[in-house]
């Protein structure tokens, strides 16, 4: 299972490395900048984007308010169409179920389309352990699998790789020089993965949305790999976070109008596939068996508290592209699966605050994420709430809590305030040399305090 916990030292170490890497900084700037401007363009072309976001928020909260009921309705509807539904409480249960389906079918090769839920449960490692070879077919994920790395962006997983990096990886696999040109790289991946689609015993996908009323799952991919993986192999297994549901297909239409526009700026993802059960009698293709694994893995813990709104997330990636922290540190600092503001909120909630205490601080609280969120999750407010929990649950170090208590005490009176400004002026020459001031001053200059008004000439 991937380690979702992220100790502060690891966050700092990875972030520092990325900050010093001009290549990564350039790639992040360019890619997130493009994605952001594409979203803004697509949003501005919508007649009333605010009303649409409000509706999307309401739809998502309607599901979260009765998640158990929606899961039950979805299960019943899909089973009526001949699909199998398995509810997994933990990552281990989910992986074990998929491994068992593979074992029963005697599967050796599994073709996968991009799925953050399968990353979350470490499905590739679990399959490899029982002798099934999982092959990622999303171009970005395929590149990362060859490199032995984890995704650093939930929508554009290989955002930090250049064409030259990719050419090197592909040349190694094909045993011949593949030029670092986009067309050549695309053709090489197409040739390499076509065999995988045709030979795979099992196809594994994620799920963008499930529809409770009809038992359908909606899968969106631009490359067509999601459609291939769910059409060609004899078995299709889909891993779905339990909160992915929407009540009806009419609600699905609302969310689809926002998903691609927010993620990449497209009106719709190229292949938006709605699957309702396995192939029907008489059909020439499509899977004989369809399994949907509904994943809890800590999500029900969020249902009753003030963080429930986080379950509304549709994984579009818009908050990553606007975040001044993500755009500098990249995704790896947050851990191997989720990143950016959505990851900074979600990960501590899934693994426990004490196991990811630096993530709520990976934000300037500027609110750009909240502004970019198509389903109106107040991300920066949730991050602030998590910081309060860090203090209340005494996860924050005693030293930090003491400093803030003293600060608050001092600034509660005029005399105290004056005392601190006097001390600050006295201590100013030392500020960039010790403690937190030193960390702050590495890479930028500490501003000088202005003299007191009456001392100015």
């Amino acid at each position: 299972m991937p380690e979702l916990a992220q100790p502060p030292a690891r966050f700092r170490e990875i972030a520092r490395g990325k900050l010093l890497d001009a290549h990564v900084q350039g790639a992040l700037d360019l890619s997130t900048g493009r994605l952001r401007s594409h979203r803004l363009e697509a949003w501005s072309a919508l007649p009333d984007v605010e009303a649409l976001r409000e509706r999307a928020h309401a739809i998502r909260m309607e599901v979260i308010d009765d998640l158990e009921g929606h899961v039950a309705r979805f299960t019943e509807a899909l089973e009526a169409r001949g699909g199998h539904v398995y509810f997994a409480r933990t990552a281990a249960e989910a992986s074990a179920y998929v491994a068992e389906v593979c074992r029963r079918r005697g599967a050796k090769l599994a073709a996968k389309s991009k799925s953050m839920a399968s990353e979350e449960i470490g499905l590739n490692e679990a399959l490899a352990a029982v002798g099934v070879q999982p092959v990622e077919t999303d171009l970005g994920e395929y590149i990362l699998q060859l490199a032995g790395e984890h995704p650093v962006h939930i929508v554009a997983p290989a955002i930090e790789k250049t064409a030259a990096d990719v050419a090197e990886l592909f040349s190694r696999v094909r045993g011949e020089q593949v030029p670092a040109e986009l067309e050549a790289l695309t053709l090489a991946a197409r040739a390499q993965l076509r065999e995988t689609f045709l030979q795979a015993d099992v196809g594994i996908t994620g799920v963008n949305f499930g529809v409770s009323a009809t038992g359908s799952i909606c899968i969106c991919t631009n490359e067509g790999n999601g459609r291939l993986v769910s059409s060609v192999p004899p078995v299709h297994v889909a891993v779905m976070g339990m909160e992915r549901l929407v009540p009806t297909t009419a609600d699905l239409a609302v969310l689809l109008r926002l998903l691609a526009r927010s993620g990449t700026g497209q009106k719709l993802t190229v292949y938006t596939t709605l699957i309702t059960g396995p192939r029907l009698p008489g059909e020439h293709d499509g899977p004989e068996e369809l399994h949907v694994v509904i994943l809890d893995n800590g999500r029900t813990n969020l249902l009753r508290g003030r963080y429930r709104e986080m379950l509304a997330c549709i994984r579009c990636g818009a908050c990553l592209n606007v975040c001044p922290v993500y755009r500098r540190t990249g995704g790896a600092a947050y851990g191997p699966v989720y990143s950016g503001p959505m990851g900074a909120v979600l990960l501590p909630l899934l693994v426990g605050l004490d196991r990811a205490p630096s993530l709520p601080h990976a934000s300037s609280l500027c609110g750009a994420c909240t502004e970019a969120c198509p389903v109106k999750i107040p991300l920066h407010e949730l991050l602030l709430d998590l910081r309060r929990d860090l203090v209340e649950e005494r996860v924050a170090p005693w030293f930090e809590r003491a400093v803030f208590a003293l600060w608050s005490l001092a600034w509660s009176s005029v005399a105290g305030y004056r005392l601190t400004t006097r001390l600050a002026r006295l201590g100013q020459p030392l500020a960039g040399l010790v403690g937190p001031g030193r960390a702050w001053a590495s890479g930028r200059r500490l501003p000088r305090l202005r003299p007191r008004y009456r001392d100015r000439r």
């Binding site: 493009r34 590149i143 059409s231 309702t276 293709d285």
Partner: protein, 126 residues
């Protein structure tokens, strides 16, 4: 209906479909599908799997030709799901452009796994 057809044609061309009227191109090895619906505001063709419409035909060949009756063009997604009601096929594909990826340097590459060339042939109402 005329307005919808023109809107569809313009949007379909904008996303990279080749739009033909009345007669389709003869291309060796192309997969030919009959679209259930078209969506005017996105230029999409909607394909429903059935005994006569296998999934692979619009998926495996390099070139996909989709036949669409003009009277099957709907304004958008909302109208599509309204028209379908609870009668959902085992697989419904809303195809909005040729297969593409921007995974390498966020630059657009066409024809990654699905067809790299898609032709939509608009046919007169049945």
């Amino acid at each position: 209906m005329r307005g919808l057809v023109e809107e569809f044609a313009a949007n379909a061309a904008a996303i990279g479909f080749h739009v033909h009227r009345g007669e389709g191109p003869e291309i060796d090895g192309a997969g030919v599908s009959t679209a259930l619906y078209g969506l005017a505001d996105t230029g999409s063709v909607v394909l429903a799997s059935s005994v006569d419409e296998p999934r692979a035909r619009s998926l495996l060949p390099d070139v996909h030709v989709s036949l669409l009756r003009q009277n099957r063009i709907l304004p958008g997604l909302e109208e599509l799901f309204e028209a379908l009601g609870s009668e959902l096929p085992s697989a419904l594909a809303i195809v909005t452009g040729p297969s593409r990826s921007a995974d390498i340097e966020q630059k657009l590459a066409v024809g990654v796994h699905g067809p790299r060339e898609v032709h939509v042939v608009l046919l007169p109402p049945a």
